[in-house]
């Protein structure tokens, strides 16, 4: 086995862990990000703290059998434009990612054997795993990686990878044309000809425009599966892949079937076949199917229905704490939210713990209005957030709204917890003299207005690092900056944080960012969701993942 090349910062990080200046989670998280394998990181931590690596109590997994799982079955012909976390349930069993984020929120190489960032995090060397072959028998090489990454980063394909990596891989190009509103039409291109560079048959180098810590996480974005270039970017029954299964049937809206392939390079597969059953996404149907044993597990179960299923002897509850949340964001370009005093007053009026309890009961934890979760490795603990209704009233009066204020909060219709959460906020804002009318719209309609509505609640999925969401949602001109927030001080702090491999220094920077968000930011944020589901007790090897990811190759079923 070749000796792992160690990033220059790893010795310092080890010293910090030994001295108790970074937590175990933070140590493992950062060490793996800097290219150390998860096994080595856990082992190194173990030499310091004496804690053994997670045993992953390996229950013997039986071979064979058919597993039936509930999920919405979408058209997956173009994984590059998949737009829900349910899409990859089907295709990611056949075509795989370069990296994988585990249920423990640690990123590991997958089709890559390793990655090595430069000390300044602006050059990332990706080594392709030796011995991985496509189902066709051809070896998986650097050319496959380059073809896929280049394709995902082109405007024509329509992948949201473009928004995710735009800041460090692409340049804006003025097309010279304007749209119907007279706005310039901007397209994109790789920022340099060698931005994606082939070093040799098994090595790719990413030369970044700006330092970036989260490259391995971005390579696990749900659209970033490696497709066979010979198939032109499409995916269908019989498509070539590197995964443990092959797709044998699919009918969007009804179901899909994947069957095990021989000689998979990784763990498993244990099952002969997995059948995905689409029940239309209706909660009632999902509950009925789980109770009557028509499916062995479900994509997810809403928290309000958990009690019904907990009473079923043949089912087991699986849940996971995540950084999945919704933020009630205020457009800073619209009155009254253009005044930071109003934004802060809205935050002061809210008690996140109460709002969280009303909406989710035990299946969520309170947030602190800054969109960095306690499970993020760079999370900095600030003084406990206190509701201050009098303070909120005083700020509103100072901003010229002493006689009260009327606003409209737009929320999505489903799931129902959006309305519960909004109603809790509505009642609390009332105490501060704010009349908040709730406008419930169909989900599809909300996504048409999410970047324009003055006050709206937007769902933000779990991302393994806090800086990822902050960069996407709040950086000036950020790809998904729905609030129009633009604060040079915030941008500067975030850019500095993103270039800091040292979690202790980064945490100091994050404390400044979080405090700035609480003082000036554009959001009210009350909860971090737990995701939950139920599986039949016969199913072995399942873990609920913070982004719902399914690893069917690790699942087995007892007779």
């Amino acid at each position: 086995m070749s000796k792992e090349k160690v990033h220059g910062y790893i010795p310092d990080l080890t010293g910090q862990y030994r001295d108790g200046r970074v937590s175990r989670r933070e140590f493992i998280r950062t060490a793996t990000l800097l290219g150390l394998s998860a096994a080595s990181a856990y082992g190194l931590a173990g030499t310091i703290d004496g804690i053994a690596s997670p045993a992953h109590a390996q229950e013997a997994k039986p071979k064979g059998g058919v597993l039936r799982l509930e999920t919405t079955v979408y058209d997956v012909k173009s994984p590059a434009v998949a737009n829900t976390t349910a899409h990859p349930w089907i295709y990611s069993q056949v075509v795989e990612y370069l990296t994988v984020i585990g249920s423990d929120n640690v990123t590991r190489p997958h089709l890559l054997e390793s990655w090595e960032p430069s000390d300044d995090l602006s050059v990332w060397t990706l080594r392709v795993r030796d011995g991985v072959t496509w189902h066709s028998g051809r070896a998986f090489t650097a050319d496959d990686v380059i073809w896929n990454l280049t394709r995902l980063l082109s405007d024509e394909v329509g992948s949201s990878m473009l928004g995710l990596m735009k800041g460090y891989m692409l340049n804006d190009v003025d097309s010279g044309k304007t749209d119907e509103n007279g706005k310039k039409i901007i397209t994109h291109e790789l920022w340099a000809p060698n931005a994606i560079e082939k070093v040799d048959d098994m090595t790719v180098r990413l030369n970044l425009k700006a330092p970036q810590l989260a490259v391995p996480e971005h390579l696990n974005h749900y659209q970033a599966v490696m497709l066979d270039p010979a198939e032109g970017g499409t995916f269908d029954v019989g498509s070539n892949g590197t995964g443990a299964f092959t797709l044998t049937e699919i009918e969007p809206g009804r179901g899909a079937v994947i069957e095990a392939v021989e000689s998979y390079w990784g763990e498993g597969p244990y099952l002969d076949k997995v059948e995905f059953v689409d029940l239309g996404g209706g909660d009632q149907a999902i509950i009925n199917a789980l109770i009557s044993g028509q499916v062995h597990g479900a994509f997810q179960v809403q928290p309000e229905l958990a009690r019904i299923l907990e009473a079923q002897d043949h089912l087991t509850l699986y849940d996971v704490t995540t950084a999945d949340t919704a933020v009630s964001r205020m457009r800073v370009t619209e009155k009254p939210f253009d005044d930071p005093r109003v934004r802060k007053a809205f935050r002061l009026a809210i008690d996140p713990a109460k709002a969280c309890a009303v909406a989710f009961g035990p299946f969520a934890t309170p947030a602190e209005h800054h969109h960095v979760a306690p499970i993020h490795p760079e999370y900095a603990k600030l003084p406990e957030w206190k509701q201050d209704v009098e303070g909120a009233k005083a700020l509103l009066a100072e901003a010229g709204y002493g006689d009260g204020l009327e606003v409209e909060l737009t929320i999505q219709q489903n799931p129902p917890h959006h309305l519960r959460s909004a109603t809790a906020m509505q009642e609390m804002l009332k105490d501060a003299g704010v009349t908040c009318n709730i406008n419930v719209v169909p989900n599809a309609q909300y996504w048409d207005m999410w970047t324009t509505v003055p006050f709206g609640t937007t769902v933000w999925a779990h991302r393994p690092l806090g800086v990822i969401n902050l960069g996407l949602a709040y950086r000036s001109g950020g790809a998904w900056n729905e609030s129009g927030y633009s604060n040079p001080e915030f941008d500067r702090l975030l850019t500095e944080a993103e270039a800091m491999p040292d979690p202790e220094v980064r945490r100091g920077k994050m404390a400044e960012i979080e405090a700035l968000m609480q003082e000036d930011g554009p959001i009210v944020q009350t909860y971090w969701r737990k995701l939950l589901t139920f599986y039949d007790k016969k199913v072995v090897g399942f873990e609920m993942h913070p982004t719902y990811a399914l690893f069917a190759n690790k699942l087995a079923i007892r007779a």
Binding site: V66, R68, Y74, D75, K77, S78, V81, A82, N83, T84, D155, E156, V157, G158, S159, S160, L162, G163, L164, K166, D179, I185, I186, T187, H188, G233, T234, F235, D236, E249, E251, P252, G253, R254, G255, V257, E275, V277, D278, L279, G280, G282, Q284, A285, I287, N288, A289, I291, S292, G293, Q294, P442, N443, A444, Q445, W447, D448, W450, A479, W480
Partner: protein, 337 residues
Amino acid sequence: MKRILINRIVQFLVILLIASFLLFAVTEFSPGNVAAKILGPYALDSQVRMLTGRLHLDDPLLTRYLRWLATLTGLLPNQLGGDATGLGLTDPRGAQYFGNFGFSLMQGRPIVDVLADRFAHTVTLAVWAIGLTIPISLALGVLAGTTAGSWIDRTITVITVTLTSLPEFVVSVALIFVFSASLGWLPGTSPLAQGDRWSEASQLVLPVAVLVIASSAYVTRIVRSSVVDTLARPFVRTARLKGLSPLRVTFFHVLRNALIAPITVILLQINWILTGVVVVEAIFAYPGIGRLMLEAALFGDLYLIQALTLISLTVAIATQFLGDLAYVLLDPRIRVA
């Protein structure tokens, strides 16, 4: 009779043409950009604009309507197949054929294929539901009507009024609770999934039962009223005075005349079951036309919505047409008029 038929067919085509244009006009005001829905909320403006152009969604309304009509009638090829959109849309029949509704953007398949599967399932449901509804409601309606005022009539009336008042989702949940969750005799959903341990037949039982309960309670009420009305008419009294047996009076004189009103209702039930059983199909996850309509509407799958609405209209007008025809056959006075 021939003139009536020709008139009806012409009316039928004109209504379809007007309705199809109205559909386009309505979808013009429906919220959302389909390209943005396909690419998801996190796509950039430049990406959405490119796909909008490839899907021809930025063409004027009239241009899109005429192109759709020409594609449907096989005069023009569908422009969305092949590499045109980058979405991998392919149609094994080719790009130009009669009945080409285009592609479902939600499912990435030709709409003809999507409809064929779903319609077949809905027809199965309808055949069972209507096949059971008609004899049950005729038997109960005639029994209640011929025994009007008795305890039998009152019992049937109370039960049918109660069942008519209950929304379908209440009946569905009650049946699931009893037969699936409590007794475990039947599956709780009906996705007709391959390899399910429950047979397809067993998956049909509960949705069919809900539809039969909902339809037959209503039709029974109508049959009963019609029978009571008919029994009071002079020709029935004449038949009785002629000494005909009560059974003969009921089946040969009363029933034929009493069926005119219920036939319209039964045909409306067929129309409803074929195109509008959204609630039942959603609760049982039954893969029929109703669930498809709901999914298409939520996604904003324009071409699929247009196809489904056009088919619903066709079914509605066709059932009305059959109703008119039945009137003519059952009542010679209408033929003469």
